[in-house]
């Protein structure tokens, strides 16, 4: 996590098997970003992230040798990882976020928005779109039904729903009478709970199947 100031240069690793995408980010991100490593598959990405210890990783979801999911699972503790995807309908998208990705961006997002989102992600803020909020809301619904226990507070549910309805932190703060910063903290907690639920799901699975 870095403190972003006007002089900060964010050291970035880009993993995508499409050269077009990598060259695009190279030429478009410009000032404030330095691409310290590139990879065109998951294994290469994990190697280069481990070697270069960047501030931020941007990875495609569908890549050879494990895809973005493998990169998130291996490197989510090193630095924030943002998924760059061509479609929000990807089946691994939620899985990647639950495994610790900071969020995702759709590849057609304009350069300015990508830059803003990456700066925020490097500073440790979740990159949370309305569609992702809806996915997470649905996932908690599924978890609640499976475990007969909803880990979300009523307030967190409201926050998620408002984001899924297209409200910004500032707008939903106004709606709920809380500050944008508090709204963002709710989102961070929600993602934390998602990671935990997923992990306990895995643990339960391991216990039930007699694995260590």
């Amino acid at each position: 996590m870095v403190v972003v100031t006007p002089d900060t240069t964010i050291r970035l690793v880009v993993a995508d098997d499409h050269e077009l995408m990598r060259s695009g980010l190279r030429t478009e991100l410009g000032h404030g970003f330095e691409i310290v490593g590139e990879a065109d598959d998951a294994e290469g990405a994990i190697d280069v992230i481990t070697a270069r210890q960047p501030d931020l990783v941007v990875t495609d979801l569908q890549m050879p040798r494990g895809g973005g999911l493998a990169v998130v699972r291996a490197c989510a503790t090193v630095c924030p990882i943002v998924i760059l995807t061509v479609s929000e309908a990807e089946s691994d998208l939620l899985e990647a976020v639950a495994a610790g990705a900071a969020g995702y961006l759709v590849k057609s997002t304009s350069v300015d928005e990508i830059r803003t989102a990456l700066l925020a992600a490097a500073a440790g803020e979740p990159v949370f779109s309305p569609s992702l909020a809806a996915l997470v809301l649905g996932e908690f619904r599924r978890l609640a039904r499976a475990n007969h226990d909803d880990p979300l507070t009523e307030r967190e549910r409201q926050v998620l729903q408002l984001v899924a309805r297209g409200h910004t932190y500032r707008e939903l703060g106004g709606e709920l009478g809380i500050s944008p910063k508090t709204a963002e903290n709710h989102v961070r907690n929600i993602l934390g709970k998602l990671h935990l639920s997923r992990r306990s799901d895995l643990v339960r699975y391991a216990v039930e199947h007699g694995l260590d």
């Binding site: 995408m21 309908a89 590849k107 350069v111 809806a134 649905g138 619904r141 409200h167």
Partner: protein
């Protein structure tokens, strides 16, 4: 770019069609014919047994003809076994089906002729036994249930001929009933087998279509959509017109590729809703996000109709009047079947207290009121609009 996109669309459609009409011989049909080939051999062994035993107790008056029939069925079994391995498509041709029916009827007829008088109706085992059923499978797959049922109905008259050739005495009512029952039995079998063959074919053709579509989608996902995304991103600032047309091409292509998956065979709440929103925004330049939180619990039919209708009207309002660039539709179906929906835009907005809201009153509020639901309109001039709907 638009030209390019429609060319891809045509190509994909062509692949789908080729799959659909490729052949009436689909994988599960071959499995069926393989099983039938084994049954043929069992029936043939059974037939050999019957002729040997009958020849032993002297009840066969024309042993040469009986053995000739055995050889004929042996030939048919060998042909079918070879064909299923080498050229299975032969097995679903009408001419092969016709020869199968001829063989089955011939066996039924000859049954009366080769055995001593009194064989028919007296012995349960005949040369034909269940052979007509095998013929029904062939006809069912090649010609469908109607022809198969007709062919099955012919087994009764064939057996009547066998009775005549067997020099059987005067027919009693129970004999006639038995012959009619035979016709009905095989006609019904033919109809069912033909219907099953059609069902199998339909299911498999659909699966093959879906596979072809998925392959195309995967290929395009990996190439065309990536390029579209890059062009959209790079042109957004300095060539908005190009960015716009690429965005449209991208959306059309996605609707073609991924849309059919959810809107094809099912009429679930979610797929009808998606279809409706796509339909109503397809000619606009809005960036549309549709978020559905839904675990498959289907709301009651009248609630679905009202909510989808109200959402459709709200979306139409945004397209027509809002002057918005983004539209977010959110729909959540509670586990108890209640629905909350929100249609939100970043357009010009209006003063809800003073304006009718371009028909919001009638088209949306009343639809929701009809099912005991509620509508809130949240808007301010210059600050966009959110229509909120509760199903009750």
């Amino acid at each position: 770019m638009l030209l390019g996109s429609s060319a891809v669309g045509r190509g994909a459609t062509r692949i789908t069609r080729v799959t659909a009409t490729r052949s009436i011989l689909f994988p599960s049909a071959i499995t069926v014919f393989r099983v039938v080939a084994v049954v043929r051999w069992l029936l043939w062994l059974w037939m050999v047994g019957i002729v040997v035993v009958s020849a032993g107790d002297g009840s066969v008056r024309r042993p040469v003809a009986a053995w000739a029939a055995v050889v004929l069925v042996l030939g048919a079994a060998m042909f079918a076994s070879t064909a299923v391995r080498r050229a299975p498509s032969v097995l679903v041709t009408p001419s092969y089906a016709a020869s199968e029916v001829a063989l089955a009827l011939g066996l039924s007829v000859i049954d009366g002729w080769v055995f001593d008088p009194g064989h028919v109706f007296e012995t349960s085992q005949s040369l034909a036994t269940q052979y007509p059923l095998i013929a029904m499978v062939s006809v069912g797959f090649a010609c469908g249930p109607l022809v198969a049922a007709t062919a099955g109905a012919a087994v009764g008259p064939a057996e009547w001929l066998a009775v005549r050739l067997n020099d059987f005495g005067p027919l009693e009512a129970r004999h006639v009933v038995s012959l009619v029952a035979t016709s009905i039995y095989f006609a019904a079998a033919g109809a069912v087998l033909g219907w099953l063959a059609g069902l199998l074919r339909r299911v498999e053709t659909e699966a093959a279509d879906q596979r072809a579509r998925n392959e195309v989608a995967r290929a395009i996902h990996d190439t065309v959509l990536q390029v579209f995304a890059a062009v959209e991103r790079r042109t957004a600032a300095n060539d908005p017109d190009l960015a716009q047309s690429v965005r449209r091409a991208d959306r059309d292509l996605r609707n073609f590729l991924f849309g059919a998956r959810t809107t094809g065979a099912t009429d679930s709440f979610e797929s009808v809703l998606r279809q409706r929103v796509v339909q109503q925004t397809t000619d606009s330049d809005l960036a549309v996000t549709l978020n559905v939180v839904y675990d498959g619990t289907e709301p009651p039919r009248d609630r679905q109709t009202a909510v989808i209708g109200a959402i459709g009207e709200a979306v139409a309002n945004v397209v027509e009047h809002a002057g918005a660039t983004t539209l977010t539709v959110f729909v959540e179906v509670e586990p108890d079947g209640h629905v909350f929906a929100s249609v939100r835009d970043d357009g010009v907005g209006f003063e809800p207290a003073t304006v009718d809201g371009h028909g919001v009153r009638h088209s949306i509020v009343e639809r929701m009121a009809d099912i005991g639901g509620r509508t809130d309109v949240v808007s301010r001039p210059g600050a966009g609009t959110e229509i909120r709907l509760w199903s009750s």
